[in-house]
């Protein structure tokens, strides 16, 4: 069996005196999906930013795609895709210009930009400034940006936010399957167990930065997840 894509133990991340993540530990094999549930402020976004190498862990062990963070963060960059709350798009640039910019940074061909804009059904509005697009359309461009370089690990913060059912059908394959046809390794933050529990292999429930629930998805019930929010 191949090495885990993610290995965390005793992960602590603070903002000032406050611990945003406290003692998080788990292991996730490649090709599997970890779904993280928890109320607002539980530490979900902080966890994604640590895994994306955008925040340094303050304590504990974080190993992503075989590299220890933060020491070997350089080896991870370019292999991780992040779909955050913010779309990471320049509002004055068009969707195509934004994606071409990221394609140059990731050394991806411009043909991939066109392919992805078509895949999210925005080929016809590719040259309009992002600020003129609806929130759902911006989210579709953001999904295209996150998977542009076909990352090995995809970090998704409520990926279906602002999307209508038709748009969800468009983006679900993009964030579910990699360019090689294999299932992506994913960490998905969610508030919707009804939909996202079905996508999970492993479930992590956070509350106040602490792991309150960590279990194989098959053994987790929606009621256990709902308990996190009480």
């Amino acid at each position: 069996m191949s090495a885990p894509a993610l290995e965390l133990s005793g992960l602590i991340r603070r903002y000032g005196e406050r611990e945003a993540l406290s003692g998080v530990g788990l292991s996730l094999p490649p090709g599997r999906t970890l779904v993280v549930f928890g109320p607002n402020g539980a530490g979900k976004t902080t966890l994604l930013r640590v895994l994306a190498t955008l925040l340094r862990p303050h304590s504990g062990r974080v190993r992503v795609l075989g590299s220890d963070l933060p020491e070997d963060a350089w080896a991870v960059r370019g292999r991780v895709g992040l779909l955050a709350h913010e779309p990471l798009l320049y509002r004055e640039l068009s969707g195509a210009e934004n994606l071409r910019y990221h394609a140059r940074l990731h050394r991806v061909s411009e043909a991939r930009v066109t392919e992805l804009l078509d895949a999210v059904a925005l080929g016809g509005r590719a040259d309009e400034p992002v600020r003129t697009l609806s929130r759902g359309m911006v989210q579709r461009v953001a999904v295209a940006r996150a998977v542009l370089h076909d990352p090995e690990l995809l970090l998704l913060d409520e990926p279906y936010a602002n999307l209508d059912p038709a748009a969800i059908e468009l983006v679900a394959p993009l964030i579910g399957v990699g360019g090689d046809g294999r299932r992506r390794t994913r960490v998905l933050c969610s508030h919707d167990p009804g939909r996202d529990l079905a996508e999970a292999d492993l479930v992590l429930g956070l509350r106040g930065g602490r792991p309150e629930l960590l279990a194989d998805a098959a053994s987790v019930t929606p009621a256990e997840i709902a308990e996190l929010y009480r």
């Binding site: 069996m1 191949s2 090495a3 885990p4 894509a5 965390l8 133990s9 003692g23 530990g25 788990l26 292991s27 996730l28 094999p29 490649p30 090709g31 599997r32 999906t33 930013r49 994306a52 955008l54 925040l55 340094r56 080896a75 991870v76 960059r77 370019g78 292999r79 991780v80 895709g81 992040l82 955050a84 913010e86 779309p87 990471l88 798009l89 320049y90 509002r91 004055e92 640039l93 210009e97 910019y101 990221h102 140059r104 940074l105 990731h106 050394r107 400034p129 940006r145 370089h149 090995e152 294999r182 299932r183 292999d201 492993l202 792991p211 960590l214 279990a215 194989d216 998805a217 098959a218």
Partner: protein, 250 residues
């Protein structure tokens, strides 16, 4: 609390091995990509260069009336020119990283497998282009509105002095803007940090320029002051290169 999952989703294939990272883009390709993006954003918003230019011209008009004289020369002319250019530059410095901080540009860049110094070089080069555009407007306006002597004979020396001053302004401006942009009081902190660091540039620039802007136009810029400007640029260039990576960390 720690667990591993390797039983669920039996149909899920595992990647047989971690694939190596895609090769890094060449340093200068990254610089070009960031600069291209910067110039596109500026062309769409026109937030920096028009504001800087308009500020400079307006300031010359204000000086024209405040001094109550038709023309200036020598030390006074050099002082007015450099102070106005540096204050105008601060407008551009303040805007330099705003889109990156507010629209996730920093995160997008940091996720890419690129040399982070490329952003420093691209921002410095972009600010240099802004300053060049500013001076294309400001120097003729200064010549028309305030300057007594003809600017023609002074032009070679003036261009050399402006070039050295611009490099210092661009490097210091980029460094300070990167420091200030993530703070809550960035609009205040930027100028407060930038102005003291610009003082040696004002002194060096004005000392070099004063003899060029005299009616007699007896000599070129002082070699000693040009060298001082050059050394100042070099010191802050090295400092910015050493510090910039840390400034990008959240």
């Amino acid at each position: 609390m720690s667990t591993a999952v390797d039983g669920g989703a039996a149909t899920a294939p595992e990647r047989s091995e971690q694939s190596p990272a895609r090769p890094q883009p060449a340093f200068w390709s990254t610089v070009a990509a960031v600069m291209r993006k910067e110039l596109l954003v500026e062309l769409r918003t026109l937030e920096s260069v028009p504001g800087m230019s308009l500020f400079a011209v307006t300031t010359f008009v204000v000086f024209h009336f405040a001094l109550n004289r038709g023309s200036v020369e020598g030390d006074l002319a050099a002082g007015i020119l450099w102070v106005t250019l540096l204050f105008a530059a601060i407008l551009g410095v303040n805007r330099l990283f705003v889109a990156d901080a507010d629209q996730g540009g920093f995160d997008g860049f940091l996720l890419a497998p690129v040399d982070r110094a490329a952003m420093l070089v691209a921002k410095v080069a972009t600010l240099l282009l802004y300053l060049l555009a500013l001076e294309l407007v400001a120097v003729p306006a200064f010549s028309i509105l305030l300057l007594g002597p003809s600017v023609g004979p002074a032009l070679p020396g003036l261009l050399a002095t402006l070039a050295l001053g611009d490099v210092g302004v661009a490097v210091i401006g980029t460094l300070v803007a990167a420091m200030a942009v993530r703070t809550r009081s960035r609009d205040l902190l930027g100028p407060l940090l930038t102005l003291p660091l610009f003082v040696p540039i004002v002194i060096g620039g004005a000392r070099c320029t004063a003899p060029l802007l005299e009616f007699a136009h007896r000599s070129g810029p002082s070699g000693r002051w040009l060298a001082t400007l050059g050394v100042y640029d070099l010191v802050f260039g090295l400092l910015a290169y050493a510090l910039f990576d840390f400034l990008l960390e959240d």
